[in-house]
């Protein structure tokens, strides 16, 4: 069969998707969704059978469960995000050795060929956001992120289902994947539509045997399915002008209302695919001959985050909530020319008290 370059489309059977997965496994360390402790989690996946086919995640503020469902890619994004792999929760920046009173330094930049298999539209937008934060809008581009990001192969999947905490349509990030992928899969009644987004995507697909040319009706069904998914989501607030509105509401008394609920547990910032804040800690050997400088995730909700001398500049919990929400929807736009929220809804699901960022934005900016 003739190979198709960028923009081409094929119809694959499940066997074809398996072949594709196995081809990718030969070249890449594959990160994909997997069932783990009753959750769908992005994990290292060696084996096609591990994909959580036929499950669906049911989410609501402070609630998560899995149900069986007919079909394959019937879930949404995993409970954790790809951030765990490109900006790991713990990463050694530099090893320092002390000998005869002098220090020497050792740096190891991990450069690994990673493949994200089955990333959804919201998370793909979050990947673009992190690229801006760590690389393209950073005067000191981060070599550690760059090392892991460099060869990243992206297999995206269009969502044919949205859970109740999803609001990608509000943020304009989904449910349709529009750019930034090597290959894009949409599950259809007859099989899987696979579209090519890059040359290397085309090359790998070329080696897959179980495939035929996609036809017009396949693209029509894709559009229809995406339309149906989108129709199940409400638009929660107007994105245009949101930044200005929020800047005008920094003194709103509503922030204090949030203080009565938020317990500053930092769960939201850990679940969020775009939250990038970190601390640098020293990990010392007992004999004090070696010390590692380790980057670990931090959160604007933690009390020591903004301490100057002995004063925490954000003592009250509501000021920390304001920092988080203002950062996501206002400051971020000034800093990186985009929102810091992609509407994945993780912070809503994983908030133990069920704080719903959509509702808070609406009440602060539009009530």
């Amino acid at each position: 069969m003739e190979s198709k370059g960028k923009g081409g489309g094929y119809l694959l059977s499940l066997e074809g998707i398996r072949e594709l997965f196995d081809r990718l496994r030969e070249k890449y360390r594959v990160i994909a969704p997997k069932l783990k402790d009753g959750l769908i989690a992005f994990s290292d996946v060696d084996n096609f059978e591990s994909l959580p086919f036929g499950y669906k995640n049911v989410e609501a503020p402070g609630f998560y469960s899995l149900e069986r469902s007919g079909g394959y890619f019937t879930y949404t994004h995993p409970y954790n995000s790809f951030k765990n792999f490109l900006h790991p929760p713990e990463l050694t920046l530099i090893k320092v050795k002390k000998e005869n009173g002098k220090l020497s330094f050792q740096v190891h930049i991990q450069e690994e060929a990673l493949c994200l298999f089955d990333i959804r539209a919201c998370d793909l937008s979050a990947l673009r956001v992190l690229d801006l934060v760590f690389l393209h809008k950073n005067p000191h581009p981060d070599p550690y992120y760059a090392g892991l990001r460099k060869g990243l192969f992206v297999v995206a999947v269009n969502c044919t289902y949205a859970t109740s905490t999803c609001f990608c349509s509000t943020m304009g990030t989904g449910p349709e994947v529009k750019e930034g992928y090597d290959l894009l899969i949409t599950e259809l009644s007859e099989g899987f539509l696979v579209e090519v987004g890059s040359e290397r995507g085309g090359e790998i697909l070329e080696k897959v045997e179980n495939k035929s040319d996609a036809e017009r009706r396949h693209f029509k069904e894709k559009a229809q399915r995406l339309g149906e998914t989108e129709a199940t989501m409400r638009v929660h607030f107007e994105k245009e002008g949101l930044q200005e509105r929020l800047y005008g509401r920094m003194d709103s008394t509503y922030w204090e209302h949030i203080e009565k609920r938020c317990v500053a547990c930092t769960s939201c910032t850990q679940a969020c695919p775009t939250c990038f804040c970190f601390d640098i800690l020293e990990k010392n050997q007992l004999d004090l001959k070696e010390s590692q400088r380790v980057r670990v995730w931090d959160s604007c909700f933690s009390p020591s985050f903004a301490t100057v001398h002995r004063f925490n500049l954000r003592q009250s919990v509501h000021s920390r909530y304001r920092q988080w929400l203002m950062h996501k929807f206002a400051y971020w736009v000034d800093q990186f020319d985009c929102f810091g929220c992609v509407g994945c809804g993780r912070c809503i699901t994983w908030c133990p008290v069920g704080i719903d960022i959509r509702e808070e934005v609406r009440r602060i900016a539009y009530a």
């Binding site: 804040c277 500049l313 954000r314 304001r322």
Partner: protein
């Protein structure tokens, strides 16, 4: 992508001179040929302990000057360094004082406490620049905390350099009272350029007085202190409103940060 420069790599320099300023505050002259500018800072590293952002207080012959007050883990370690030891750091980071704006005008420098370390270098530069009138107010909490005593004579002989102590002391013959009192007494024309560094409340109080004197906010520059971990705009700790103090600052034109700086807990 080309290999990126690693922002976390440290440099080493020999400590050439150590001056004890007062109890717990030392000034270090450290050998280096790295270029730097008044207003910038370095991240000083203490093995096994961590890093702290410290202003470049001055530049000597192939030396940078740092003045460090031992308040915490890192600074306590740094203050134990002596001549011949090595200091490790990364930098310089941050922006510079906009000294050109003060050419042919009055330049007022207001320093509170250790803030003098952040204004010293630009003040020394200003002595040799085409500045119409140079005034420097320095407030210290008490006699024993005064920094750079060995420089006062030279400074006062050239320009208006005034010191005030918060607390009286039998050894002190000069002014006593808050720096704001000193500022109120000062005659200034409206087109004065102001550089200030000190505790947040001092900066806020001084700005109010300057406004009463008709000096516009966009003539005022303040060097801010915030919690910093990475210094390269990636860790998020130093944010104030939409700004990262580490890379957009530490010096800010006041009209640009007033909103965030004056509002509680931003």
């Amino acid at each position: 992508m080309p290999t990126l420069e690693n922002p976390y790599l440290l440099k080493a320099g020999r400590v050439e001179k150590v001056i004890k300023e007062c109890e717990g505050v030392y000034t270090f002259h450290v050998r280096t040929q790295e270029p730097a500018y008044p207003g910038q800072y370095n991240m000083l590293y203490a093995f096994g302990v961590g890093e702290a952002p410290i202003t470049i207080a001055s530049m000597g012959e192939e030396c940078i000057v740092h003045t460090v007050r031992a308040v915490g883990d890192v600074t306590r370690h740094i203050d134990q360094l002596r001549e011949g030891d090595y200091l490790y750091w990364r930098g310089p980071y941050g922006n510079r004082w906009a000294i050109e704006r003060a050419y042919n005008k009055t330049l007022l420098i207001i320093s509170g406490g250790l803030g003098l370390a952040a204004t010293r270098w630009v003040f020394e530069e200003a002595l040799n620049k085409p500045i119409k009138r140079l005034v420097h107010l320095y407030g210290s909490k008490d006699y024993d905390s005064l920094l750079y005593r060995y420089l006062y004579e030279n400074w006062s002989s050239k320009v208006e350099f005034y010191i005030t102590l918060d607390r009286p002391d039998p050894r002190w013959k000069g002014k006593v009272g808050l720096i704001t009192e000193l500022l109120k007494e000062l005659e200034l024309d409206e087109d004065t350029i102001v550089f200030t560094c000190g505790p947040d409340p001092m900066v806020k109080a001084c700005v109010r007085i300057l406004q009463e004197k008709g000096i516009p906010q966009n003539n005022i520059y303040a060097s801010l202190e915030r919690h910093m971990k990475c210094s390269v705009g990636t860790c998020g700790h130093c944010m104030i409103g939409p700004y990262f103090v580490c890379k957009d600052g530490p010096i800010f034109r006041y009209d640009l940060i007033r909103e965030y700086f004056e509002r509680k807990e931003v």
